[in-house]
Symmetry: C2
Amino acid sequence: MKIITSTQEIQKVTSKLREKNKSIGFIPTMGALHEGHLQLVRESKTKNDVTIVSIFVNPTQFSPTEDLTKYPRPIEQDKKLLRREKVDILFYPSTKEIYPTDFQTTVTVNQLSRILEGKSRPTHFAGVSTIVLKLFNLISPTNTYFGQKDFQQCIVIKQMIRDLNLPIIFNMVPTVREPDGLALSSRNIFLNSQERLQAVNLYQSLLFGKKLILLGNKNVQKIKSEMDNYLQKYKLIRLDYIEICDSENLSPLKVVSKKAVILISANVGKTRLIDNIII
Amino acid sequence: MKIITSTQEIQKVTSKLREKNKSIGFIPTMGALHEGHLQLVRESKTKNDVTIVSIFVNPTQFSPTEDLTKYPRPIEQDKKLLRREKVDILFYPSTKEIYPTDFQTTVTVNQLSRILEGKSRPTHFAGVSTIVLKLFNLISPTNTYFGQKDFQQCIVIKQMIRDLNLPIIFNMVPTVREPDGLALSSRNIFLNSQERLQAVNLYQSLLFGKKLILLGNKNVQKIKSEMDNYLQKYKLIRLDYIEICDSENLSPLKVVSKKAVILISANVGKTRLIDNIII
């Protein structure tokens, strides 16, 4: 596996790959890799000539009150995992390489960035879309792979690709879960053992909500309040939102009619977790 | 000259050109072409295998109070001029093709978009950078050409290219002027004959400012006020600003020391004109 840290170098390498008409699969990550990330890598490996992973803990998608400094950075272990998956190139730039001192450009997918996660984290998605666009321009991938766990992020990036006419195919890969159902996340390591035990109920509540819908319930308010009730017993879970939305464009539904997704966000102890399920 | 109106089609054509390693020179315009634009075309023709011009009157860079509907659109004459210059491809999309109903993404070069023109036109440069990025992604040019007349626009686009890691070479081409010195602009047709006579004094004041500097004056406040005095006699000119800035990043200067540019903006009658001169 080739490790590249400079923007100039990665652009030179990927531009040569494009000249040779090699397809490039690209997975942007913040490191602290788990099976969810590796699943994205495997998807890419089956479909592209070359697979590139980036590891960059992007400061602009954290708010000042969030966990940027304590975000896990087990880089040696990450490299080992990526080598084992036979990733071709790891792009691992410094913050200064990505954001030189006079950097001042923001890409915002306006409506989609304000709802759901965007309500509690108003600058988060602008940070995400800006860094992802930069990485796309550095790597010019044929395909890019994102995990369904961050469902809103998937929709934001898909919309950005469409709005900015990027010639990139977006691939959403199903969430990988622990045996008990908890969605894999680099933040799960922050959960203590009691929190970890209760955290699984986020997914349980999603399964419960889906079951209600499959049994014929269509009233979104009703379903949300039953899910909310279900979660009441778990005292370490502080619910932020449950929403049922159109799974194409995240517009909120009142009645479950078309293709829907249930999204949930909660603090478990001090750790913010999100999950979702497609109906 | 091939005329393409669909985003899919232009992307297909330019991606084929890239596969064949053809260099592409690209000139984005709003039409109403004059010698200034044609100079950009000629520059591109000498340096690239293929020259592409776009004509799109971009609504998002006009504010509601500005002249979007009366902006000139002499498309047949424009085509004739471009054919005469042997332009290879004209990209001429509809507004709906560029901005489908769910379009919602904005690219903002933050600091540079707020100063100078941005003070009177707060949403202007976000409109410009967003459309230019879209066109860049559709055309993936090797070189792009912009006129020096819109100096701040040049600096904004250069900064966007750098910030977003676009693999595009930016070329600024000197302003083309009428025999008396007035900078060519598609908006000059709005001037009545008296206004047209007075308009030339914008450039005269820039020459006067430059002369003061070359004679050894360094005090920006002094130079600006002498230029302002010079313009007082022309009653049809309502000055918006004169600024003397670092020509690399537009930071305002107090003392002329490094590479400087004088920028001027004024309403002549109802028509907003801008001009600049590099020291």
